[in-house]
Symmetry: D3
Subunit: 160 residues, 6 copies
């Protein structure tokens, strides 16, 4: 069977930590769909279109990865893509708790879907989109945190 996995998130912006999980997912799934959530109730720095573009730029070198946006329930999006697995990275205890609750809720909404977790690589355990935005907002160095194409977009965003 062709195994399709969904990597969901806000990706505001996509970080090297996200890319690490996406790349590692391609080794154990035939196809990986990065699902960028359009959640109007959550204020984002980048528009949905910008987030999709940044993700496309960042995964350019990876095969079997597609970038898509979605709104509404993740389980509906996953099923529409023929996926049976949702892949999430875990960095810390608080991730664990939140993801544990989401995994069980999603299982309740669609019990044919399985959420699987990968541990963040040690060098990315401290990394989050919000930390990247805070550092960039103060003019700090964000190399090594996001892809070069994303760095350029962050600099432009905060230069305005």
């Amino acid at each position: 069977m062709t195994q399709i996995a969904i990597c969901p998130g806000s990706f505001d912006p996509i970080t090297l930590g996200h890319l690490d999980i996406i790349e590692r997912s391609t080794y154990i799934y035939d196809k990986v769909v990065v699902g960028i959530a359009d959640n109007p109730s959550k204020a984002a720095l980048f528009s949905l279109d910008e987030r999709v573009e940044m993700a496309k730029e960042a995964v350019a070198g990876l095969g079997n990865v597609t970038i898509e946006s979605f709104e509404g329930l993740l389980t509906v999006f996953a099923r529409a893509n023929g996926a049976r697995a949702i892949v999430k990275g875990l960095r810390a205890i608080s991730d664990f708790e939140h993801e544990f609750q989401m995994a069980h809720l999603n299982k309740k909404l669609d019990n044919t879907l399985e959420t699987v977790f990968m541990m963040a690589s040690p060098e990315y355990m401290f990394l989050s989109s919000s930390a990247v935005k805070e550092i960039a907002g103060f003019g700090g160095d964000i190399s090594g945190l996001v892809a070069e194409t994303t760095q350029a977009r962050l600099r432009r965003k905060f230069a305005r």
Copy 2:
């Protein structure tokens, strides 16, 4: 590609929580190998042979699952079986921490191997082999905790 996953552990004895993770693994992997560790430095209630037999009885109804024992490093066993993924269930924070360390160490030992985690189903979050042994040792009711075939073996073990 044929995706093979390893479900490793001591399985002393195999519980319904283990079986839940094994069964869910069969939905997203083509083949699941349950690897029962022969770790002489860890005292077990059941012999390695008994643990293998109990596991075979318990997974009798599941397709694409094989039971094997191994000694030495898990990464060597996984590679020998052509697996690219190790599957572990997470029940709690302490599981998370220990498994996080094991996953990184195993990645260091063999970086072609990925450890993926599934959340224990809510009804099995409180369940461990050691709890089962303690209850059985005091003559308590272990139905709903281990398979019927395993219940019988536990009763015989403690009746001696």
Copy 3:
């Protein structure tokens, strides 16, 4: 002595997880007062009146339970009701930490009051009012998460 316990919260809306803790409280306390906090600084989906009505509907079948709203300090409300115990459900580590801090602060404010905790039942460990609202907002199925009367109110709220 007649033991009175307070079950405090926002109950926006009351979930089956809340009801489980309330019902279990009635087995070990003579009287249970559900205290719905009127906290103007916390945005709620439902008005205080709606939250009180939903809670009343949901506990209709339980004896020795009353629903009341309060504003200000919980300790003052508890003492005004003659309660010596505050009952809280614990679902996860983050609950634990927050509740630990609240329990010590409340003890400092009134040392005749004791906060006692019960573990959420496994099937409700993933459940929160905010998750219910998010699912309902996306049109997902909320049966098994809140009482039927509450389901109807949520559907009406999001249909507007």
Copy 4:
């Protein structure tokens, strides 16, 4: 109804942290039974008889508290005493996890029993029987950690 609570443990030896939970339990239960577990598989510094004697000395000033030993399942002991509540103190996350598992297992073994938790008082959050034994074994000062009568017994034990 007369509410009876069980405070179970090894009490090897009883600490001021245990006594704090026991005393606070007497404020919200009519009768508190301290249950000292006779668990032959767990090596103890003090014999069961010594642990019972130390506990009796330490609770001498508290009304409505009795000290009893038990072997086997806690749920059987609790029911034999007519208790509907087991009271446990929580000091830390690792306590939380272990106690969470035990509470669910005990509920499975006897669903008429409820486990309730109290947060350890701040000054006792760092305190455990094993820490007391380690300090006493090195000749350190254990005042403020255990009752005076217990201090004397620890000094005699390590003087031998």
Copy 5:
């Protein structure tokens, strides 16, 4: 060498828990600089000037402590003060996780800076600026939580 440590935070307002960490820092560092962050994106009850004044009043009796405000990256502020250590108090697991991420990010931004942590004293483990504000806002007793000079300012703030 003269060891300078930075104690950073919002201090909205400074609590007895903050003061405890600051005082303990003076015992192992030659000079302690309390850095009050001017973070426009974070709504504060007190203005930056008020927070600086409150902190100055509260540390009046401590030698080798200066109060300064800063905006922008903490690492830049620390280096400008000749500090090689940032001191943070840890109260709880969630502190630990957040501080762990900040420490690694700050190390990445300036690897000559080290973040060191001290455990909050038990009597202040439940204490936070936001809890103080909530209690004061409801007219509760805040003695024992903040310095007397700070109590007066809180009362004036909420009397308006």
Copy 6:
């Protein structure tokens, strides 16, 4: 004042994670004393003499570091060395909890001593002496986990 810090532990054997904390300590303390505990109740793979020798070999390139062994209470050893700070590395939540308890107990035994914590570097967060021993015992590759001199000793130990 000359600031002396103690880095205590079993060091059975010393790992690159320990060395990282020791080296970082030399940047913010004038002198660092590595204290190797002689705890007869804790079974060690290496004798106390071997652990001291391995540590001396491993810190050979670091200035201002001395290796000493001690038995009994850490607080007594620290005071005898004129230290006012104990430095510990934190890798994970379980470290945090245990170290939190030890820090408070040590403060109670000697309130002139302060325990300060540093976060383990990301690449060593998964590393422990016991993991090293387990991998070495199975013949796995331990380069990148311990110093080269330590690797040789581990190989000899397990070759016997």
